[in-house]
Symmetry: C2
Subunit: 491 residues, 2 copies
Amino acid sequence: MAKTLTKREENYSQWYNELVVKADLAENSAVRGCMVIKPYGYSIWEKMQAALDKMFKDTGHSNAYFPLFIPKSFFSKEASHVDGFAKECAVVTHYRLKTDEKTGEIVVDPDAKLEEELIVRPTSETIIWNTYKNWIQSYRDLPILVNQWANVVRWEMRTRLFLRTAEFLWQEGHTAHATKTEAIEETERMIGVYADFAENWMGVPVIKGYKSENERFAGALDTYAIEALMQDGKALQAGTSHFLGQNFAKAFDVKFTDKEGKLDHVWATSWGVSTRLMGALVMAHSDDKGLVLPPKLAPIQVVIVPIYKGEDQLKQIDEKVNVIKKALEDKGISVKYDNRDTFKPGWKFAEYELKGVPVRIAIGSRDIENNTLEIARRDTFEKVTLSQEGIEKYIEDLLNEIQKNIYQKALNFRKENTFKANTYDEFKDIIKNKGGFVLAHWDGTSETELKIKHETKATIRVIPFDAEEEEGSCIYSGKPSKKRVLFAKAY
Amino acid sequence: MAKTLTKREENYSQWYNELVVKADLAENSAVRGCMVIKPYGYSIWEKMQAALDKMFKDTGHSNAYFPLFIPKSFFSKEASHVDGFAKECAVVTHYRLKTDEKTGEIVVDPDAKLEEELIVRPTSETIIWNTYKNWIQSYRDLPILVNQWANVVRWEMRTRLFLRTAEFLWQEGHTAHATKTEAIEETERMIGVYADFAENWMGVPVIKGYKSENERFAGALDTYAIEALMQDGKALQAGTSHFLGQNFAKAFDVKFTDKEGKLDHVWATSWGVSTRLMGALVMAHSDDKGLVLPPKLAPIQVVIVPIYKGEDQLKQIDEKVNVIKKALEDKGISVKYDNRDTFKPGWKFAEYELKGVPVRIAIGSRDIENNTLEIARRDTFEKVTLSQEGIEKYIEDLLNEIQKNIYQKALNFRKENTFKANTYDEFKDIIKNKGGFVLAHWDGTSETELKIKHETKATIRVIPFDAEEEEGSCIYSGKPSKKRVLFAKAY
């Protein structure tokens, strides 16, 4: 079959690239580094969006929309921010094309040069804080709890579908607060929302923690992240929440009068997740047969395939299936009945395995006689033949069971692939030969972190929130350390 | 009060501009021609999106996402398309900024010039048909029924919030079909969906029809549109659906094998509505006190304002309101209880009138004694005092009644402002002195249409689908005509 995948063991990277394309999630476009998100892939993203959007609203946020373009001068206002993003910006310099009079070709009109170049937003702190300046005068105007769903562009040189693309889709929350404490609470709240989403919707266990100074967002005082472990032993940063202090308020002169009438700069956070989560979802659970999707994010939760000879049998099955389908849909379960006669059952089985549909029901003419059907789980490949009676309750429970099982499997994998290293030799051995998360002592300096990165390609993913206090010494420098941090090679 | 609006009679245009800003719908940004859609405005747009998205899915469409950028060469492939859009394009020419060594300023890095310029999409036919080329080989791959929610950029010189902005949000459907008939049916289906949405959700009556050749989409064989009449007697095009024939399939060489094994070019449609609908919504219904929103699109359907002296009274009212609020929410009605003590009831009344909340409930301490409350309608300003018993059913019915009334009022307005002109003098008089829709005979030539436009600023909005067959002669040229077409000055 044309759709056979490279095995993960043979070449994990190639397996991923093939799976994303063959399962109709996304493909490369004619524009360097930009992807096309195909309808099936987009329908998963829509489910992610809907769940996240509800979580944002339940925590008091509203959506808004800010311009795609950012005047170049805005970037220069926050020094570390421009350092972080200037090297990967798409720059708009002209606003018109014209037909060249000599060649007849379409060319950029030199007379339509912009006075100030516009940057296609790589992130929106600058344009948003320039806007907030007009929205905030008093403590009564605070907090501002706004989120934006948008496309952003970062001109990455080496791109991979979902994981690293020049244009990607994301949400970016931008909040403004009267106090430092409130802003830090918001930063924590949102990393908590992301962890909740990753674990309870995506079925991907994550470790929450602080980023080291090296890995912080350009312009943040503190960055919190959630880190997930992929099946090849590499880490993937799945979401970040930044405490921005008063940096952007100072850069854009955003002040407010507090209850006592005193003027102060506003405190800020920003937080985001992107279509990168699609990459995490694929890599965390899928297998050599294709996608494995958690039921809560599966566009099709149950597929029904008829096994028949001739139109009479099909007609009998159709009638029965319509009843079953209705009963399942009444429980809020999304069902596809694939009775196309242009494809054989075996082809369909492989196709829906590739697409990661959690539950497959097969029903043949013998099942009609016996009032039975065959149920197959995508996550374990287990099959069982059951009576049609009360099947909707069984399926409902099974979907919950699969959701839990996928998470548990990923959690077990992470446990088996999280190691403690007490010496640098041990550390290097694990990183080189096993991969996975490595908990090790670190002296807290950027210098040491960068040397370890240079020598092993492993970086500090996070300093876990729940790291135990423990006397130890840095694996690299031998200097004293009070807790272990989480190292890994990362996407 | 600072929030008083200019009256419509005094200056309709200024009234609109003020209302959009003061009601917190949108504002101009620091980027020329680009707007910020504020949370309250965006929440209306979200309701529009949700309703439209469901209608698209109910008619078999899926969402997908295509790149923001279009290579310049793609534009040149469909001749009339590039003519239509080349003059208003944002062009990306570089992919990096750098710090100038001499001045220390952030400048565009001349070494990072793109080999081929990229256009920020003004519409996506070209990039999408270049993608479809790889998706379509056989009739089995058809139809493709895809929609995209996206931002687009058209470098308009004169911009107005929602009505005409350099960047705007929209959806663009792009479908591919095996036959001409099927593509035309799709084009018709989608203009029908738009009309349904405009009338039944926005409460805006529209006239469906064909665009004249002059007003067609660049690259279309036929454009269908819905046209609405605003309170100042000008028309607003609220949605378009294009039959593209095989133009884009030919430009991008997209062929398929039909059931008989014959190769043919694919047939196409595209259709879109944008944040311009927000402008239509505001202008169709609102009054000198502020927005009037149809309940189906109102972010807050009912606001409850307590009238009290002292904390004890407020506490009593709070308790009662919580019960009423819960009963309303159980019916799916969105309710805001504004018991802030920083604002007086009169201020709140004006504020929610400005924001267009369809129903206001006021409840005071005497109401607590009498088990009553006061209900005020935004659309008619009618007030009534009723028993609290069964109030949720009353409000539910009232919201339906307001939805209908708003539509009926707009429909009556349109009827009163739709005229027949039989001579050019009559025509000019109506256009100049009354405004509104004018039904008149036209000889079918672009020449005549352009002359009328030049002399009166009125254009043919549509040739109505339901225009009656009628012998007549063109108001301008006197040549024979078989039906009247719809003229107006337009936004």
